[in-house]
Symmetry: C2
Subunit: 365 residues, 2 copies
């Protein structure tokens, strides 16, 4: 599964003279902190990533997450070179209703992979996250065992900005992790805004965590998520909850049969699980392996990756030209006024759009 | 419900001197055909529409559908003026799996509205339609009774172009029909591409027609459509099919309960119907009226319309700036090459996007 990665050095034409990139303590003085990105060369980064140096990998991801143009330039080069060696991984998107115990699930479920020799990276997309509010510590605290596991790498969501920006950063981080030898990638999301759709569009497999007692908890998930799922896991199937969990499993199984078939030939199903007793986790893992066997054999895995790559190219372009339009001075000044005309029915949507486009056009000339 | 429309003339400050706009036979000589759009003035169009002159309404819609800049100019003005008088209508989106008998359903169901004094316009969104292939005749033939009904106006999908273009034309036609006094609008779609989403985004209520025998026929509908629906009608519940239809109704009812609640406070359900025996049609109509009662009382109807108006303004802008980008000469020349680099994994999606944007930018300067 990771065969392409092993020969990474030759593919990258890395300068063999530098065996070990300098490890920088991120908590050293401000002077060094400010300049630490500059201290590593491109080859240092690539060497570090390919030799699975966690500090260098983290620093490279920080570079990918930076919005400073000089960082973006280096980051783009690193991603490009890593892209060439990143092999066949399993990218698993995970979302869940609030209260489903996502972190606890990932903590227990992730160890099934690391214990059987896989290297697991846990990334996230949470457009609402703010690093300054300590979500790094938060994530690592909630996944204590996994973050101490030498086969696991946990990275919180990139912070701030639009969903498009956050998604771009996470997708590029996936490439770096894969080049560093991580063959299983969890991409978790808290389900804010359109983040599930973003996670879905960069995952091979999409896992939805639900609680038993169908009904109330559905408040927490957005319409359409269930149909995107390749597997529904009912969590917390332990103690007094077991019967309810099995009932929920039956309900969701029936519901899934009513959905149109997926393009993969895969039939989504529902399972129960408990992060406390560990029951059901192995079955979920088995299901996931079955999925990858099936879709690698029938080619869907590769086709979907191609489509995702194409999707993200167009998505990035479309986001960027939109950003340029709405950042335009004239547009910013007049947009609200036109929006008001339109929502109060005093002007048609198309007429307003056409006038705004004219204003933008005039700015061009 | 139509109170705002009655006083349309004064709101429009229409020239009262012209009582009846000249009715033009669309099959007259080529000379007249080419120039017939010019023969009516703006006031002629508005007068004609407000007095429910079907010929003028049709001609105005033709103008809305035209892509010639001089037509667009007049069309925009007509839509703008009609916008000011269009009242509270019921916009009902209708889609269904292939074989569900959409035309037959609309033919029977529509007459429930026209017979009780409503004026019904049936519009469509079908990005694949080509008028030259005779879909006008097709639609009218399939809805024989309805097309002869003086309270019904059937207009096939605007032809050709992108979904965005087709959707724009249909949405503007809705406004013209409402100004002409049509208070119930069916917007049907064959479900090609993203057309259901487009119909959903211009409807107050979304009706999904399904066949009994859940499973095979689901091939025909796209994932996510079921969750958009306010009501599922199982069609062809007659003859030997009745038991199967009732079973399907129960299955879909259960499935709908598992979906997250809608923002409207409305609980979607499933019903059976037959266009042949007429059974179930009255119940569906009742359900729809209940929906409008509820959402007009709780304000969701107005909030959704506002959101839709806002959505279409942004959608139009975003479509147009995208079109401009992809129509750019340099981009058209290089796009395929970058797409190939990306889908074969030789270049990252974001790097490719960024290079293409640079190429576009350079063209600007």
């Amino acid at each position: 599964m990771t065969s392409k990665k092993v020969d990474g050095n030759s593919a990258l034409k890395v300068n063999k003279g530098i065996e070990q990139p300098p490890v920088i303590n991120p908590y050293m003085s401000n002077f060094y902190k400010k300049n630490r990105v500059r201290q590593l060369t491109l080859e240092d980064y690539l060497n570090g990533i390919l030799s699975s140096d966690l500090t260098v990998l983290s620093q490279a991801i920080t570079l990918v997450e930076s919005s400073r143009p000089e960082h973006r330039e280096v980051a783009r080069e690193i991603v490009q070179r890593c892209q060439e060696v990143a092999g066949e991984s399993m990218r698993i998107g995970i979302t869940g209703v609030p209260g489903a115990g996502k972190s606890t699930f990932i903590e227990a479920f992730g160890r099934l992979f690391t214990e059987s020799g896989h290297k697991l990276a846990v990334l996230a997309i949470d457009p609402s996250s703010e690093k300054s509010k300590g979500s790094i510590l938060g994530d690592k605290t909630r996944m204590e065992k996994l973050s101490a596991d030498k086969n696991a790498f946990i990275r919180p969501s990139p912070s701030g900005g639009s969903l498009g920006g956050v998604a771009r950063k996470t997708r590029e981080s996936i490439v770096l992790c894969e080049a560093a030898g991580y063959d299983v990638i969890f991409i978790e999301t808290v389900g804010v805004g359109q983040s599930e759709t973003a996670v879905h569009s960069m995952s091979d497999f999409f896992l939805l965590l639900m609680l038993s007692g169908a009904g109330d908890e559905l408040q927490g998930i957005k319409r359409g998520i269930m149909e995107m799922s390749d597997l529904i896991a009912i969590t917390k199937a332990d103690g007094n909850n077991i019967d309810k969990a099995f009932l929920a499993k039956a309900l969701y199984s029936n519901a899934l049969h009513l959905f149109p078939p997926t393009g993969s030939g895969w039939v989504p199903s529902a399972l129960t699980s408990s992060a406390i007793t560990g029951s059901g986790l192995e079955e979920i893992k088995q299901k996931i392996f079955e999925y990858f066997d099936l879709t690698r054999k029938n080619g869907f895995y590769y086709k979907k990756r191609e489509e995702q790559a194409r999707f993200w190219m167009y998505e990035t372009i479309n986001e960027e030209i939109k950003n340029r339009f709405y950042a335009n001075h004239t547009i910013r000044r007049r947009l609200e006024e036109y929006e008001k005309l339109v929502t109060t029915g005093r002007m048609g949507s198309f007429a307003a759009a056409s006038e705004l486009l004219k204003l933008y056009n005039e700015k061009w000339k």
